[in-house]
C-alpha cells in the first residue's frame, strides 16, 4: 500500500442532536469507526446482513449470566420474531430461564454484599444479582418430576440435549421463557455441556429415588450429527456469540465438521486471547482452524454483553422495520411470521 492509502477515511465526529434513536447513535458510531464504537457499529451491520441473507442460518451462542442480568425476554422475543434460528447454550442459562418460568426471580443486589451472610441466608450471588436458594430447590423438585416423566415416556432410551430442551419447553408454560418460545417456534436449542449446571444435580436427585424404574439419559453426542446437518444444509451460516466457551466452540465446530466455516460472525466478549482459551480467541485465530471463513464478515466486540447485545438488537430491529419478514432457511415452505410492531 502507498502512504496515501492509509489516509483515506477521516473519522467523523459523533454528534448528538436532541432525541436520537438507537440506530441513529449506531450510525454516528459508524461514522467514527473507531475503537469500541466502530466495532459495535460493524457488529450491527453484520447481524443485519445475516438476517437479510435469505440463505443464512443464524446461530446464537449463549454463555455467561444472560438471564439473571435481564436478557431472557430479549432472547425469547428474537426466537418468536425469527431473528435467530438455532441456539446453543450453557446449561446454566437454561436453568436460569426455567427458574423464572417457575415463578422464581433474580434480584438486584450488590457485589459488595457480605457473602458469608448471604450463605447463612441461603442466597446465591451472581456478581451484583441475587437469587434465593429456594428458587433453585423448587426448580430441582419440579424438574426431577419432569425428568421422571420424560424417562418414562422414552422408556429408557437416551435423548439428545436438543430433545431434552424440547421436552422441557413442552412442559414449561411461561410464554416469556426461552425454552418455551423455542419449543413453540420449533427453534432447536442445543445444550452441549448439559450436566455442567443445575440440570446435572437435578439428575442426581432424580436418580437417587429408590425404585425409580427409568432414569433419564441425555446423550450430548447425539446432538453432533443434528447440528452438523443444519450447518451442512444451510447455504450460509452466521453466528452471534455472547461470551464464548462451549457454546461458541460447538457452533464453530459444527461449521467446520460440515466442511463450510462460518460466513458471518459477531462475538461479544471481554476475554483476552493471550491465555489460549477459546472465549478470548480472536476471529483471525478462528480462521486458522477453518471454523470461520477467511473472507467472512466478522467482528469481535470487546465489552459487556448486557450492554452491547441489546444495543445491536435494537439498532438492527430499527433498520429492518416492522414490515420485515424473514423465513429462515430451515423453515422454507413454512409460513413466515410478521414481527409485531
Amino acid at each position: 500500500m502507498k502512504r496515501k492509502d492509509y489516509l483515506q477515511n477521516p473519522v467523523k465526529h459523533i454528534k448528538i442532536n436532541g432525541t436520537l434513536t438507537v440506530d441513529q447513535l449506531m450510525r454516528q458510531f459508524q461514522g467514527s469507526g473507531s475503537f469500541g464504537a466502530g466495532r459495535l457499529a460493524r457488529a450491527c451491520n453484520i447481524y443485519e446482513k445475516m438476517l437479510r441473507d435469505k440463505d443464512c442460518t443464524v446461530f446464537l451462542a449463549l454463555s455467561g449470566a444472560v438471564v439473571p442480568a435481564g436478557m431472557r425476554a430479549l432472547v425469547a422475543d428474537l426466537i418468536r420474531a425469527r431473528l435467530v434460528d438455532v441456539i446453543v447454550s450453557t446449561g446454566a442459562s437454561m436453568v436460569h430461564d426455567a427458574i423464572e418460568t417457575l415463578n422464581g426471580h433474580h434480584y438486584k443486589g450488590s457485589w459488595m454484599a457480605d457473602d458469608r451472610e448471604l450463605y447463612r441466608y441461603h442466597i446465591f450471588r451472581i456478581y451484583d444479582v441475587f437469587v434465593a436458594e429456594e428458587d433453585y430447590v423448587k426448580l430441582d423438585y419440579q424438574l426431577a418430576e419432569m425428568y421422571r416423566e420424560i424417562a418414562t415416556e422414552r422408556n429408557g432410551e437416551s435423548i439428545s440435549s436438543n430433545e431434552f430442551a424440547w421436552e422441557l419447553g413442552k412442559r414449561l408454560k411461561d410464554p416469556n421463557s426461552i425454552l418455551r418460545a423455542a419449543y413453540e417456534e420449533n427453534v432447536p436449542i442445543f445444550i452441549p455441556a448439559v450436566r455442567d449446571s443445575e440440570f446435572g444435580y437435578i439428575h442426581l436427585l432424580h436418580a437417587s429415588q429408590e425404585k425409580q424404574k427409568n432414569i433419564l439419559k441425555v446423550d450430548a453426542f447425539k446432538d453432533v450429527p443434528r447440528i452438523c446437518e443444519i450447518c451442512g444444509k444451510s447455504p450460509r451460516n452466521g453466528m452471534v456469540v455472547i461470551g464464548g466457551g462451549v457454546p461458541r466452540n460447538t457452533v464453530q465446530s459444527a461449521a467446520i465438521a460440515a466442511k463450510k466455516g462460518m460466513d458471518y460472525a459477531v462475538v461479544i466478549t471481554m476475554d483476552r486471547p493471550e491465555t489460549g482459551g477459546l472465549s478470548g480467541s480472536t476471529l483471525r485465530e478462528t480462521v486458522s482452524w477453518g471454523k470461520v471463513k477467511g473472507e467472512a464478515d466478522k467482528i469481535m466486540v470487546i465489552g459487556d454483553a448486557l450492554v452491547m447485545f441489546p444495543l445491536i438488537v435494537a439498532s438492527v430491529v430499527e433498520r429492518l422495520g416492522s414490515e420485515f419478514m424473514r423465513t429462515p432457511y430451515l423453515k422454507r415452505g413454512k409460513p413466515a411470521v410478521r414481527r409485531s410492531k
Partner: protein, 69 residues
C-alpha cells in the same frame, strides 16, 4: 453428631436440608430419595439427622418466626 444436644437437632441444621419456604419449611433430599414427602418443617427432626458443616440462619429465623418475634 453424638455431641450435639438432642434439643438442637432440627431439619434446619441437618446436612440434607435446603430451604423450600425460608425459614419455615425445608426440602429434604434424603426423604425425596426414600419416596417420602420431602418438604418438612425446619424445626422438625428425624432419626437420620446429621450436622451441617456450615451454619445458616434457618433454625434461628424459624424459631424467631415461631415465637412471633
Amino acid at each position: 453428631m453424638g455431641s450435639v444436644e438432642k434439643e438442637k437437632r432440627f431439619c434446619g441444621n441437618c446436612s440434607s436440608h435446603n430451604p423450600y419456604e425460608y425459614p419455615a419449611r425445608i426440602f429434604c433430599s434424603k426423604r425425596y430419595a426414600q419416596n417420602k414427602e420431602p418438604i418438612v418443617d425446619t424445626l422438625w427432626c428425624c432419626g437420620d439427622w446429621s450436622p451441617v458443616n456450615q451454619d445458616c440462619h434457618c433454625v434461628r429465623d424459624a424459631l424467631k418466626k415461631k415465637s412471633g418475634a
